[in-house]
């Protein structure tokens, strides 16, 4: 990343010389030459013989800065983090030190040699938990190039999430990883209608964590884990874009590998205390070596079509096919004192080897049409089909080492496993403009499908389980714009399902949303949203009762185009109730109740000073207060000051407070002040 950053920062320096030469060659020409009234901008797509003429006539490019943008850099300080540091890292994870907070600049080449325009953006460089960069280069009629990079740290060690009684107090479900994404895309424009393109993307994860190694349900042992996976994606295609239709053809492929490893050497009694003996023995792990060697590849194809058949009818369709495949190699060796309750066996080690493959042809298609009948009536009809058929053949062997010289016979566990998912959807919408200010909508959606999946071990239907999906959904809505100042949008859908897959799936549900916006003047607007979802599954052994509501209001006030003050404020009130019966200990029916009542508010007041251009004081932040099953509070107030020091140089400083607390998990709270100060140089 540092090399990349150096490269990015050197681009302006490399670009500077020719521009300076140009400025020397034509000092102030543009400023002194008034633009002709009929002057046109330079035409990059003009034929070569007219190009120089067009450039000569165009006063615009040389009158402008070839470089514009800003760079923010400085230092971040943290006060002592009070409370749970692991939780702080799981939620905030900002660190101290010198930082490049952000870079954002654009280079416009007046001579349009390699590019017309180059955009560079970067954020959080210097060890922040989220680092992103973007480079975009564009030359009209020749190419579009984009590069994106992100590196996001994922840290998670939330004590309440793991076994709170785990020995040594460490979290058995913790990880400290990074996910990195790279993307290069190049669109070539040899003509106006045919556009070939190439894309390369890479997604990778690396880091370490703690997992558990499970031994025959008697005990589980926390072991360190090294996490490494990557996916490379190569694709290319061509777009044909014409006035009446468009076709995109794309072919791509991926390669995937996952090389996670776990290794342990020591004495590990696991989660069960040593005095809890199994078959008279203390179960203990002395050593573990576990390695995954997962390799996968995939090919995929994509065909997209849009067409306007005539002025009153549009058509679209897409056909997508992918066939990912995974090859599995797995080995594991564990030594210790182990017991198998199911076979009343004591043994000192076990070796597991796994191999196999999984193949998943996945076909999707959707198509539809839109037609207008007169100027008031529109119809949209769309279909979607999705087929995913997994076939897997894992082979697992296990050898138990009874003592130093003997071993149990190998246990083979070959499986032929399949998962089949078929999904279909048809939706028909009608939109009718009652007046120029009122549009009514109505529609119907029918969803159906079936699934075959691996059954649970107690299944009475064999190794596979079958499910079906059948859902009828009615749709309605309206858009009302009585004036330019007021708009109102309402949406409703209600469903009665005959068959669903899961107990918590949408069954008999009603969903409504109202969104209103009122803008009494250009500098002021109000926005209000209301949303409700009610889902019921009254089956005797389920009794699922789910209801969520969300009400929010927002105001934005920017008098005098924000020259002095800008105010933005939002308040949101959300409630959620969910009750469902489940089988507890000894299959006793119990009810799981979850409810959440949350207040969320965010605001920002920007104060500027017309006499001091560039000065800006921002005060605001957000708060979140939830009561219910997991009451928690999270405060993030902030103040930010941008003070001009010199032409194009600003002092940029910020204070932010993070305060997090949970009523039932007091040990997870944290609070800290974060200061950052630095300079912003802009041009």
């Amino acid at each position: 990343m540092r090399i990349l950053l150096a490269l990015l920062l050197s681009i302006p320096a490399l670009a500077q010389q020719p521009a300076a030469e140009q400025a020397a060659g034509q000092p102030g020409q543009a400023a002194q030459t008034p633009a002709k009234p009929d002057a046109k901008p330079a035409d990059a797509q003009a034929p070569a013989d007219t190009k120089s003429e067009a450039k000569a006539e165009s006063p615009a490019p040389s009158a402008e800065q070839w470089l514009s943008g800003s760079i923010d850099f400085g230092y971040r300080f943290l006060t002592d983090i009070r409370g749970n540091f692991q939780e702080y890292r799981s939620v905030v994870n900002l660190g101290e030190g010198p930082k490049l907070f952000g870079v954002d600049f654009t280079i416009t080449d007046p001579k349009k040699r390699l590019f017309d325009r180059l955009d560079v953006r970067a954020l959080g460089i210097g060890g922040d938990p989220y680092q992103t960069a973007h480079v975009g280069a564009h030359k009209m009629g020749i190419y579009d190039f984009n590069f994106d990079y992100s590196n996001i740290a994922l840290f998670d060690a939330v004590p309440s999430f793991a076994n709170p009684l785990a020995p040594a107090g460490f979290n058995e479900q913790a990880f400290d990883t990074h996910r990195r994404n790279l993307s290069f895309s190049l669109d070539l424009r040899p003509g106006k209608h045919i556009i070939p393109y190439l894309v390369f993307e890479r997604n990778s994860g690396y880091g370490h964590g703690i997992d558990t190694w499970v031994q025959d349900a008697n005990n589980e042992f926390a072991v360190p884990t090294l996490l490494r996976d990557s996916t490379n994606n190569y694709r290319g295609g061509v777009r044909f874009e014409y006035n009446r239709f468009h076709v995109t053809l794309e072919q791509g492929g991926t390669t995937f590998k996952d090389d996670d490893q776990s290794y342990y050497n020591g004495v590990n009694y696991g989660d069960v205390p040593p005095n809890n003996k199994v078959l008279g023995q203390t179960v203990v792990l002395y050593g573990l070596g576990q390695a995954y060697g997962i390799h996968g590849d995939s090919i995929y194809s994509k065909v997209l079509v849009t067409a306007n058949l005539n002025d009153a009818a549009n058509f679209y369709g897409q056909f997508l096919f992918s066939e990912p495949r995974t090859d599995v190699n797995f080995s594991e060796m564990a030594v210790g004192n182990f017991a198998s309750l199911s076979s009343l066996l004591l043994y000192s080690g076990q070796q597991n080897l796994g191999t196999g493959a999984a193949n998943q042809p996945h076909t999707s298609a959707s198509f539809g049409w839109e037609s207008r009948l007169g100027s008031r009536l529109r119809f949209i009809d769309s279909y979607m089909i999705d087929r995913s058929h997994d076939a897997a053949s894992p082979l697992l062997t296990q050898v138990l080492l009874l003592n130093a010289t003997s071993a149990s016979p190998k246990a083979f566990n070959p499986l032929n496993y399949t998962q089949v998912v078929n999904y279909n959807q048809n939706q028909f919408d009608v939109m009718f403009d009652v007046t120029s200010k009122l549009t009514l909508r109505g529609g119907y959606r029918y969803v159906w499908g079936d699934a075959t999946v691996l059954a649970g071990q107690l299944s009475q239907t064999g190794s596979l389980a079958f499910g079906q999906l059948q859902r009828n959904v009615g749709l309605a809505g309206l858009t009302f714009r009585p004036s330019e100042k007021l708009s109102l949008n309402m949406d409703y859908e209600g469903s009665s399902s005959d068959r669903i897959y899961f107990r918590t799936s949408l069954n008999d549900y009603n969903k409504a949303r109202v969104r209103a916006k009122y803008q009494p003047r250009a500098s002021l607007y109000f926005q209000a949203n209301f949303q409700v979802l009610n889902n019921q599954n009254p089956a005797a052994d389920i009794r699922y009762d789910f209801q969520s509501r969300d009400n929010s209001v927002a105001v934005n006030w920017m008098p005098k185009a924000g020259k002095v003050i800008t105010f933005m404020g939002e308040y949101d009130r959300s409630t959620l109730n969910s009750n469902i019966s489940y089988l507890g200990l000894f299959l006793a029916p119990m009810t799981s109740s979850y409810y959440d009542r949350a207040h969320t508010a965010t605001s920002a007041i920007d104060i500027a000073c017309p006499r001091l251009p560039g000065f800006k004081l921002t005060v605001g932040g957000s708060l979140f207060i939830a009561s219910g099953t997991r009451p928690s509070r999270y405060y993030q107030p902030l103040a930010r000051l941008l003070l001009p020091l010199h032409k194009n140089v600003y002092w940029n400083t910020e204070w932010k407070y993070y305060g997090f607390g949970e009523q039932f998990y007091l040990f997870e709270g944290f609070r800290t002040h974060v200061f950052q100060t630095g300079l912003r140089v802009s041009r």
């Binding site: 973007h134 992100s150 996001i152 009684l165 996976d229 006035n243 995939s298 894992p394 107690l458 489940y582």
Partner: protein
């Protein structure tokens, strides 16, 4: 009859009054005379290419390609004499934009998008005249998020919760996961690798295919267990304790004939003493819950 007995030629129809004549194109240069700021900004806007579009007859008429012929407006300077796409009915605004943009890959999913169905016009998000960093459409993640949050205030509120994707920090934008023009997946979720949900773009290790798939990942998607916009529960789970996420499905008594309402998922074996904290976080042992390469119980 005239003096020679011949019938008079029928009189030519009277010329329509000047104000009833249809407006004609006057060219972008005429617009520049009064709207110089807009004209200048437009020169660096991608739509500037319209001024050279001979095929559609827009050459030198970029302004009027959307605003319609402007001769009347040029004479009267009245706003009533010119079409203002941003103030039309959304469907009419879209129709203007889609004359050129319909046949592009971005709009393959348009008819499935809730934006199109809810009459959110192109001009609601795209600033047609502007240039600069937020010209036409913002590109920086923070600016994209601000634009979306203007309407989706409830979603923005979710991002203020402690466990969420890094959207408020500007590390991600809404369009990393959603395609505002529409997608064939619900909620306009982006797709990767042709037809996979966009979640797998960053979480490639969860994609599989696994020899032992966990059915909800394919059947209901990530949203079955996670609240991607933000949650007060760790790992953006839908419930505060892992066991309740799992038990909501894994509570069926297996029977020979599955019920219609919720057929998949079976009861946990009785060895799970749910009173013990050891069993309350199911993925302490069932850690490969997104799918396993080697174990049908997702232990490894």
């Amino acid at each position: 009859m005239n003096a020679w007995g011949a019938q008079d030629k029928p009189a030519a129809p009277a010329a329509p009054p000047e104000e009833n004549k249809p407006a004609t194109f006057v060219g972008s240069q005429a617009c520049q005379m009064c709207h110089e700021d807009i004209f200048n900004a437009f020169q660096k806007n991608p739509h500037e290419i319209v001024d050279k579009d001979k095929k559609r007859g827009f050459e030198n008429n970029a302004c009027e390609s959307c605003h319609g012929p402007g001769s009347k407006h040029a004479e009267s300077t009245s706003a009533a004499d010119i079409r203002q796409p941003a103030k039309l009915k959304p469907a009419e605004t879209d129709k203007i934009c889609l004359r050129c943009h319909l046949n592009q890959p971005t709009h393959v999913g348009r008819l499935n998008s809730s934006h199109a169905k809810n009459q959110v016009s192109c001009a609601a998000c795209h600033s047609i005249h502007k240039n600069g960093p937020n010209g036409l459409v913002p590109h920086k993640a923070a600016d994209v998020n601000q634009l979306c949050a203007q309407c989706h205030t409830d979603i923005w509120a979710s991002f203020q919760k402690p466990y969420k994707h890094r959207v408020p920090e500007g590390a991600m934008s809404c369009v990393d996961c959603h395609n505002p023009h529409g997608s064939f997946l619900p909620r306009s979720i982006q797709t990767v690798n042709a037809n996979e949900p966009g979640c797998f773009k960053c979480h490639g290790d969860k994609r599989g295919p696994f020899p032992f798939e966990h059915a909800p990942v394919r059947l209901e998607g990530c949203g079955a267990c996670h609240q991607p916009h933000g949650s007060s529960n760790p790992r953006m789970l839908t419930r505060p304790e892992v066991r309740f996420v799992c038990l909501e499905c894994h509570s069926n008594l297996p029977g020979p004939k599955p019920p219609a309402n919720g057929t998949l998922g079976t009861v946990p074996p009785a060895l799970h003493d749910l009173r013990s904290p050891r069993f309350q976080n199911c993925n302490l042992c069932h850690q490969k819950v997104h799918g396993s390469y080697v174990n049908r119980d997702f232990f490894k």
